[in-house]
């Protein structure tokens, strides 16, 4: 896993199961991946945490959603996709001024490739596939981030 600026691996604050599901209902998530199997898997993983993700199959569709005014707290971005890949889509979103949490989820495990992806503007980068621990980590980071935003 690669951590971006501002990330810390502080201890996880585990809420009780039901609390966890309820407190996540207000978070919006977008899954961007060209593989229908991965989309199905990530969707199910996130649903287990009480989230209801929107799912698109390439970077351009993700960018278009933001252009028409949609917004998401968390974006799970695959790297290799047709039409517009994860690197391009992330750069585009950052250029548009989007500061949602963008997390790269890639099947390429090479350090240098993850670094390239990070540099396009990711907050974190994980190797596929997503696991419950990773989601717990991200949700914690999101809650911290929302707290920070509220305190500005």
């Amino acid at each position: 896993m690669v951590l971006g600026n501002g990330a810390s691996s502080s201890s996880l604050n585990m809420k009780s199961g039901e609390d966890k599901v309820n407190s996540n209902k207000n978070l919006s998530v977008l899954v961007v991946d060209d593989d229908p199997l991965i989309r199905m898997l990530h969707d199910m993983h996130l649903k287990k945490f009480g989230l209801n993700p929107q799912v698109v199959e390439d970077g351009k569709k993700a960018v278009d959603l933001f252009r028409i005014g949609a917004s998401f707290d968390l974006i799970l971005m695959d790297k290799e996709m047709p039409v517009m890949n994860g690197v391009e889509a992330t750069k585009e979103l950052r250029d548009m001024g989007i500061n949602s949490m963008i997390v790269g989820v890639t099947s390429r495990g090479l350090e240098i490739e993850m670094q390239d992806f990070m540099e396009s503007g990711l907050d974190f980068c994980f190797e596929k596939p997503l696991t419950p621990d990773m989601i717990t980590f991200l949700l914690n980071e999101l809650n911290k981030k929302n707290d920070d935003d509220n305190n500005d």
């Binding site: 199997l37 991965i38 993983h45 099947s107």
Partner: protein, 149 residues
């Protein structure tokens, strides 16, 4: 065979699949995601994997038949196959993909063709094993039992 024997058989069969590396930890994560609200999740995901795989194997065969082989294209297909097999925990298929990608990089036609054969072989093995496992599960359910963890 009575219910208890069927359940016993399933547990042993499953254990052997893990032991022989047909399946890995990722597959148990899939099973963990299944619950009363999504009782067919594993079967759905695996079915999708079968469809995806068969399509990819066809694409690979076609790509390697071309007079001038587009190795980038071949690699892209193998990359996808590696991704999906690793996501469902089909470890031996995933490993076959890794070897395949090395030959793509070297642009080694012979090597690629051999790997395709190997990939087909591993895929059909895991498909058969998974189908047998699902059949056993169905038998247990039909006999009024529940699937042991």
């Amino acid at each position: 065979m009575d219910l208890f024997q069927l359940q016993r058989r399933l547990v042993d069969y499953r254990a052997s699949l893990y032991h022989e590396d047909f399946l890995d930890e990722q597959f148990s994560q899939l099973q963990d995601l299944q619950d009363e609200n999504n009782p067919d999740f594993v079967v759905e995901v695996v079915t999708l994997f079968f469809e995806d795989s068969e399509r990819l194997l066809n694409e690979l065969a076609k790509a390697l038949e071309q007079p001038i082989i587009d190795f980038k294209r071949v690699d892209a297909h193998v990359h996808q196959f590696k991704g999906s097999s690793s996501s469902i925990g089909a470890q031996r298929v995933q490993k076959a993909c890794i070897a395949f990608r090395n030959y793509c990089e070297e642009q080694n036609v012979e090597g690629c063709l051999k790997c395709l054969q190997q990939l087909r072989h591993e895929y059909s093995l895991v498909k058969t094993k998974l189908e047998s496992m699902f059949q056993l599960e169905q038998q247990i359910l039909s006999a009024g039992g529940s699937i042991p963890m």
